[in-house]
Amino acid sequence: MKTLSHLDQLEAEAIYIIREVAAECEKPVMLYSIGKDSSVMLHLALKAFYPEKPPFPLLHIDTTWKFKEMIRFRDRKAVELGIELLVHTNQEGVQKGINPFDHGSAYTDIMKTEALKAGLQHHGFTAAFGGGRRDEEKSRAKERIFSFRNSAHAWDPRNQRPELWQLFNTRLNKGESLRVFPLSNWTEKDIWQYIQREKIEIVPLYFAKERPVVIREGNLIMVDDHRFKLRPGEEIQMKKVRFRTLGCYPLTGGLESNADTLQAIIDETLATLTSERTSRVIDRESAASMERRKREGYF
């Protein structure tokens, strides 16, 4: 019996999970963040149901502060693939002018966490796929693949249902919903190798290019539009940068790089001994911050 390669095993596992959700869950949705993990997850969904289209829509939580290139990529992809794309924004937050410059961690709570909860509630989704990986961060390392949220969308890490073999229990109690992480067992390296093997298109921001940036607290923050508020002493400089993760542009640190091809990114990624969440500003707060956020409903 020939064993499957490492990537084939991960692919098979993810497809099995995605198909289980489609078969057992009442109203699933795939959260689509436009990043590389989402791109891989969407690609897996397309493969899982081929020649059928995935039997669920995509949902993007738009904070209105994403990179412009991400939004263009998102809208083009949805049309190309012929998949229903839902976009949800916390309009109340927009009206109140909640923004990442002035509101710090409250911004993430209001425009991401709250918006996500409201988006899921609004459409009545009972299960949501997320692209989270266990290698990203320590509290995520302990989360089940099928992870339950109570009616307040909160995670109870101390009381997770046991998950055995490939026998996933998808049964919900009243008010509960599911988060499902088909990429749980993938590492950042697996993601890049798979993108390369499958020739998956990703947002060009992942490739190094001359971009206008400001150096802020050691991070290279790209000035993506006129809303960027310069602090005294800051100046916009052109630097060749790329992004390891994509999110809201004021909260996403780029890194100086010449890697403008997939192979170059992979080589560089593996040579850099920093884990990718370093470039997400919120994680710096404290080691326990992610666990707290997840308990409160952050994806």
Binding site: M1, T3, L4, S5, H6, L7, D8, Q9, E11, A12, I15, Y16, R19, E20, A22, A23, L46, K47, A48, F49, Y50, P51, E52, K53, R134, D135, K138, S139, A141, K142, P157, R158, Q160, R161, P162, E163, L164, W165, Q166, L167, N169, R171, L172, N173, S184, N185, T187, K189, Q193, I266, D267, L270, A271, L273, T274, S275, T278, A287, A288, E291
Partner: protein, 623 residues
């Protein structure tokens, strides 16, 4: 910190994957061992190292590097200094990719250890050399074996504390070998290590010159854990049927064993229809051949009745039965009581199942058989399990996919237990009932419902008989098992000798309540339709019937009933032709707290039935 050699890592994209768990007692140092392995092998990222140093300063070890902090992720765990849930870690060396599930050692988290073990091919069991083999060690070995692990490494830890004494190591080694002889073990390596000092973790220690084997990491890099080929042939549990259009009908799933080619003849189970493979997809690629573990979409050359939960196989000689003996590991806070009904998931099939008998509990440490009437969290037992329908399964030792299952609680939806099938049972040849235990629960479970008595009360002409009749029809259509008791079938037989005096009325209601209770004991939903005017009598019925009693007050007012007067009874009563007529010459005591109340004055029969069914549905167990 020196960077690893990334370019070389990239050159093995087809490298194999080893999934393993680490287990041991609370203070054996599992997290420290894995943390140290990752650290030594330069497999942790620089910023994780910074966090580690930072956390160490804040942590319990007073500034010394605490490798376990790399793994213990949850805040609660760090505060308590123990591991409460499985933590997964990913690393790659030049030889192999690894996923390690670090599992909790503490007894109360046994079920979390089982979660880790079900995922792994190999177990690294830690033994503290100063403690020797503990009950936990024995427990972990048993759980690992139950969940299907056949490859073991024993890391005899804290060798530094006994000055690397060879004899004490040998003593523990012999203890373990005799312990392991009771299990099916394919490979076993026993290694002397020190997790804090790093002896034999990634490199051979100079302190243990007497140990000839490989250190831990090099051993894990080369150990072969491939499961041998199965003779069972091709098996595909169908996950879903894909029908994007009329021309295409594909059966999707992950191949559980064997291989399949275009042109092969396959048989569906349990339907036993055969067809040839017309086309084969592995994900979105058209292929001629697919093998174990691959996600496939199979198209057949003719229409076969197959849905999720069915199987496509080459060899149809699999067990198709509704009864088997299995080893259960109970994981729920609510204990197992034989006779209770659960939902069983095996492969892609979910069906109601009942644990009929606990044959005996298995002591986790000694393996001794203990008689038991119940099974509590983290206990293990051999049980007979009965299914509501025939299902395809296999013994776990032959086939992991068709031999393993979970039980889900039908009310809380909790994953209550996991189990592995030992052997099938034949109903006719097996006396399966424990003592006289064909209980009410068992009878109800067989009918897949919760027994209830729907006690309709109300004035003559209020509509109770009509509604009782309609409700029974609806329930029947839903696949429920019911029995309607009304004046027609009770007064003319069982209660033929009773008249309409108050004494007889009381006796009438008492008998009806007793019969309803017997029907509930038989697992049925009993529906009674009698005026039952006295609160005391209804209270008596409630007492006889117990928790299954549900009072439905058809509260249509007297004026309306009298206006309808379908049988002309009110007219006769008013004329004094009927003595003791409820509402006219005899009182009707309004129910004080009925479960459901319905007035039919202004609504149609259908609307009233809809309303009733909405309410009743809340009391029915889910199918």
């Amino acid at each position: 910190m020196k960077p690893a050699k990334p370019m070389e890592k990239m050159t093995h994209p087809t490298r194999s994957l080893l999934k393993f768990i680490t287990c041991g007692s609370v203070d054996d140092g599992k997290s420290t061992l894995i943390g140290h392995m990752l650290y030594d092998a330069k497999l942790i990222y620089a910023d994780q190292e910074q966090t580690l140093l930072l956390d160490s300063r804040l942590g319990s070890r007073e500034g010394r590097m605490d490798y376990s902090l790399l793994l213990d992720g949850l805040t609660a765990e760090r505060e308590q200094g123990i591991t409460i849930d499985v933590a997964y870690r990913y690393f790659t060396t030049q030889e192999r990719s690894f996923i390690v599930a670090d599992t909790p050692g503490h007894e109360q988290y046994t079920r979390n250890m089982a979660v880790g073990a079900s995922f792994a091919d190999l177990a690294v069991i830690l033994v503290d050399v100063t403690q020797g083999i503990l009950t936990q060690t024995k427990r972990h070995l048993r759980i690992s074996a139950l969940m299907g692990i056949r490859h073991f490494v024993v890391a005899v830890n804290k060798m530094d504390l006994i000055a690397y004494d060879h004899h004490r190591f040998e003593a523990i080694k012999n203890d373990f070998l005799s312990l392991a002889s009771a299990y099916e073990v394919k490979t076993l390596q026993i290694i002397p290590v020190s997790a804090t000092e790093g002896d034999n973790v990634t490199t051979r220690s100079l302190n243990t010159g007497w140990y000839q084997g490989l250190p831990l990491l090099p051993y894990l890099e080369q150990v072969e854990v491939t499961r041998e080929a199965l003779d069972a042939g091709f098996i595909l549990p169908v996950q879903r049927v894909s029908r994007p259009n009329h021309a295409f009908r594909g059966f999707q799933g992950q191949i559980a064993s064997g291989r399949v080619s275009v042109g092969d003849t396959l048989i569906s189970l349990p339907g036993r229809e055969s067809a040839r493979v017309k086309s084969l997809l592995v994900t979105d690629r058209t292929v001629e051949l697919a093998t174990t573990g691959q996600p496939v979409t199979v198209q057949l050359d003719r229409d076969v009745d197959i849905s999720r939960g069915c199987l496509l196989v080459q060899n149809p000689d699999l067990n198709v039965a509704d009864l088997f003996t299995a080893t259960l590991l109970w994981m729920d806070d609510t204990e197992l009581i034989p006779g209770r009904s659960y939902l069983l998931k095996l492969g892609t099939r979910v069906l109601p199942a009942t644990v009929m008998t606990i044959k005996h509990q298995i002591d986790m440490t000694s393996g001794r058989q203990i008689p038991a009437g119940k099974l509590f969290k983290n206990e293990m037992a051999l049980c007979d399990i009965s299914l509501s329908e025939n299902m395809v399964f296999d013994e776990f030792k032959h086939n992991r996919t068709l031999g393993s299952f979970i039980l889900m609680d039908r009310l809380t939806n909790m994953t209550s237990a996991c189990g592995t099938i030992d052997h099938p049972l034949r109903r006719s040849t097996n006396v399966i009932w424990q003592k006289t235990d064909v209980t009410r629960e068992v009878r109800a479970a067989q009918k897949n419902q919760k027994p209830l008595t729907l006690w309709f009360t109300g004035l003559s002409g209020s509509g109770k008989s009509t509604l009782a009749n309609e409700v029974e029809k609806r329930l029947l259509a839903m696949g429920r098992h019911t029995m309607l008791l009304d004046g027609d079938n009770v007064r003319h037989g069982l209660n033929k000798n009773l008249g309409f005096t108050e004494v007889d009325r009381v006796e009438n209601i008492r008998r009806i309540a007793e019969v309803a209770r017997l029907m509930n004991d038989a697992g049925l939903i009993a529906i009674t339709s009698f005026i039952s005017p006295y609160e005391r009598d209804r209270g008596n019925a409630r007492e006889i019937i117990g928790d299954s009693y549900m009072e439905i007050h058809v509260s249509t007012p007297l004026e309306e009933c009298e206006k309808r007067d379908v049988k002309g009874l009110y007219q006769k009563a008013r004329n004094g032709q009927i003595p003791n007529f409820t509402g006219i010459s005899s009182p009707y005591e309004e129910p004080l707290s009925p479960d459901i109340s319905i007035d039919t004055t202004h609504i149609s029969i259908e609307e009233a039935t809809d309303l009733l069914m909405q309410q009743i549905s809340r009391y029915l167990s889910p199918l």
